[in-house]
């Protein structure tokens, strides 16, 4: 992935292409349609917030974007690969190489050090132990937790845990960082800290999709997509793809540009 993604954005293929995505579930005997035909493209380097109330289909959207689930109809291309035809093993591979997840509840392995948690995706990518350590250390450096590498999740604050999760999400150098309510379990100050980190990552060229129901969190994104009843009802761009994200830390924004310096 190019570090200077903003300049290339016009020429490279989009990270995400959704075309008339429909997703239906069978709940008992009743067929529930969660998505009714969603079409959307996400360019490389974009920072998109997907918003919606509960029941709007945003969780389904997150599952599909994260390759945790496949659409019932329509096409979904991630980094140019159509996932609808892929089997389970191939989907795991896509999740491993193309997507970095950040969850609301952090989802770190308990009784496992920060560094080992960050190494986890590399473990399933057949990376050697030495290389894993090196890359995990680099990713922890990016989120500012290099000194906490050997701490266990229960020895860290929520904000620190979420930053470990963020390090885990970027350690494989994925095409897309997908965050599902990343600040849902955090207080306002910590939320701001974590969101600024997303902004910095995006400034460094990473594509970020954020799923949230809070508008002040969505305000960190360059583009807001609003869902209701399984359809996109609003797609508003706040800042051009190539521009820096709207809210960056006054200090780090000037001095430090996160390059996502963990490229393979």
């Amino acid at each position: 992935m190019s570090v200077n993604a903003a300049a290339d954005a016009g020429t490279v293929r989009p990270v995400i292409v959704l075309r008339r995505i429909v997703k239906t579930y069978l709940m008992g005997d009743v067929e529930v349609t969660a998505l009714r035909g969603v079409t959307m493209t996400v360019e490389r380097g974009d920072f998109v917030a997907i918003m919606g109330a509960s029941g709007s289909g945003k969780s389904t959207m997150m599952n599909i974007l994260g390759c945790l689930d496949v659409p019932s109809r329509g096409h979904f291309l991630i980094d140019g690969i159509d996932v609808r035809t892929l089997d389970e093993a191939a989907l795991s591979h896509i999740r491993n190489r193309k997507i970095g997840f950040v969850f609301q509840s952090f989802n770190l392995l308990p009784r496992t050090s920060a560094s080992a948690n960050v190494e986890l995706p590399l473990l399933y990518a057949n990376v050697s132990a030495g290389e894993r350590r090196r890359r995990a250390a680099a990713a922890l450096e990016v989120v500012g937790l290099a000194d906490r590498a050997h701490h266990f999740p229960n020895e860290m604050s929520g904000g620190q845990q979420q930053r470990v999760a963020l390090a885990r999400a970027i350690v494989t150098n994925p095409a897309l960082v997908l965050a599902d309510e990343p600040t849902g379990n955090l207080d306002t100050a910590t939320s701001r800290e974590v969101m600024l980190m997303f902004s910095e990552l995006n400034r460094g060229g990473r594509t970020v999709i954020l799923i949230t129901h809070e508008s002040d969190i969505a305000a960190y994104a360059k583009r807001i997509v609003r869902l209701r009843d399984g359809l996109i009802i609003e797609d508003r761009r706040l800042v051009p793809v190539q521009a820096p994200p709207p809210l960056v830390s006054a200090v780090t924004g000037e001095d430090r540009a996160f390059s996502g310096g963990v490229s393979a």
Binding site: A89, S92, L123
Partner: protein, 406 residues
């Protein structure tokens, strides 16, 4: 995913709940050690039975004459009551040309009579025979000298006494050699004392006196035919041939067929085979009981693995979300189950080997060579078999459901 990494993850899984893992391991350990110890007890008792039968003399054939245990003379035909065990029979069986597989023949006349020494008396079985008998029936001398051919020929009233007879007639420390005891109405000189032989079935083999058959016939039984012939084959392998030869000779002498032979020809080898097949059934039974306990241990592994998988659903979800393929999750949990049973198997072998060093209910266990690899192999197979279902359950979890699991 690299095999070593899988191993490390599985190992951490086991360590995450050490007490539970230890109890599961214990189940397998008990199963494996039970298999080894019980099979060792079976093998040991089997060897014990074989050695007891060996003490009877496994290369001997007993020909029982009419009247006693034999099925008696043939009642069909005209030649009934004519067949007896005689010196002619003995000579014919002794002849190397007619019976090449026979090493020796000892004619035996038996009776029961009271032996008296001073004020003490004791009812004992009396065996009148030839010098070969001692070796053929595995009697050894504790003191004195054996009966000789000369004693037989000269009809000398000399006697060898068994340990039970000795203890009943003489006080301890008294030297019986050279003393004269009364058997029935005749007096016999003690020339030897038999070594202790123990019991065979219900017979006390030490409650016996052995004298030349000529003297016993003279003084006690009269000139009746021999009650039995003890035939010693040249080797254990020649036993069946020798039995056939003896049957043929006796049938020819009695002018009848082997099937109508009025004697019982008891082959000690068949006795051994029967005893061995009995004790092998016993061993199999013990092994089966032990195998059941191993199975129970295996179910314990499965139970714990199912609990583990449920408990760690969220972990499975996280692993799957970050890209663990189904095979990696399967390998992780399967390996965990196999490791549990592997440790249990190893510990069980250790306990089994140590436990087999102790005497159990009078039996010295002998570890059967096959039992260790067998028990260990079954333990691992049990781990794979009972680990497969929980591991597959873990691997088949959908990441969305697993992540949402509380």
């Amino acid at each position: 995913m690299r095999p070593l990494d899988t191993l490390r993850i599985s190992w951490r899984g086991i360590n995450a709940n050490l007490l539970r893992s230890a109890l599961t391991v214990l189940g397998v350990m008990i199963g494996v050690s039970a298999v080894i110890i019980l099979l060792a007890v079976g093998t040991g008792s089997s060897a014990q039975v074989a050695s007891r039968i060996n003490a009877l003399g496994t290369n001997t054939i007993t020909v029982l004459g009419t009247g006693r245990f034999g099925r008696g003379p043939a009642t069909t035909g005209t030649q009934s009551q004519t067949a007896n065990l005689t010196t002619q029979s003995v000579q014919a069986i002794e002849s190397p040309s007619q019976a090449p597989d026979v090493a020796s023949v000892s004619p035996v006349v038996t009776t029961t009579d009271t032996a008296t020494y001073g004020a003490a008396s004791y009812s004992t079985s009396v065996i009148g025979t030839t010098p070969n008998y001692l070796a053929a029936d595995d009697y050894a001398l504790a003191a004195g000298s054996p009966i000789t051919q000369l004693d037989v020929t000269n009809r000398r009233r000399v006697v060898l006494i068994g340990q039970t007879v000795l203890s009943n007639l003489f006080s301890s420390g008294q030297n019986p050699l050279g003393q004269t005891i009364q058997i029935g109405s005749a007096s016999f000189e003690i020339i030897g004392v038999l070594a202790e032989k123990g019991t065979s079935g219900i017979t006390n083999q030490d409650s016996v006196v052995i004298a030349p058959y000529t003297a016993v016939q003279d003084e006690l039984t009269g000139y009746a035919p021999f009650s039995e012939l003890l035939v010693q084959a040249k080797s254990t392998t020649a036993l069946n041939n020798a039995a056939t030869e003896v049957e043929d000779i006796l049938a020819a002498q009695a002018a009848t067929t082997v099937a109508d032979l009025p004697f019982s020809v008891i082959n000690e080898g068949t006795l051994l085979t029967t005893a061995q097949s009995t004790s092998s059934t016993f061993t199999t039974l013990l092994g089966a009981v032990a195998a059941i306990s191993l199975l129970v241990g295996g179910i314990g592994v499965m139970n714990i693995m199912l609990v583990t998988v449920t408990e760690r659903t969220r972990e499975i979800g996280i692993r799957k979300a970050v890209g663990a393929p189904k095979a990696a999750i399967l390998a992780q949990f399967l390996l965990e189950a196999v490791l549990l049973s592997l440790i249990g198997g190893g510990g069980g072998v250790l306990v089994g080997v140590i436990g087999s060093r102790f005497k159990i209910d009078g039996v010295t266990p002998i570890i059967a060579g096959y039992s260790i690899p067998l028990a260990f192999g079954i333990a691992i197979a049990v781990g794979v078999f009972f680990g497969l279902y929980p591991a597959n359950r873990a691997a088949s979890l959908r990441p969305i459901d697993a992540l949402r699991y509380e």
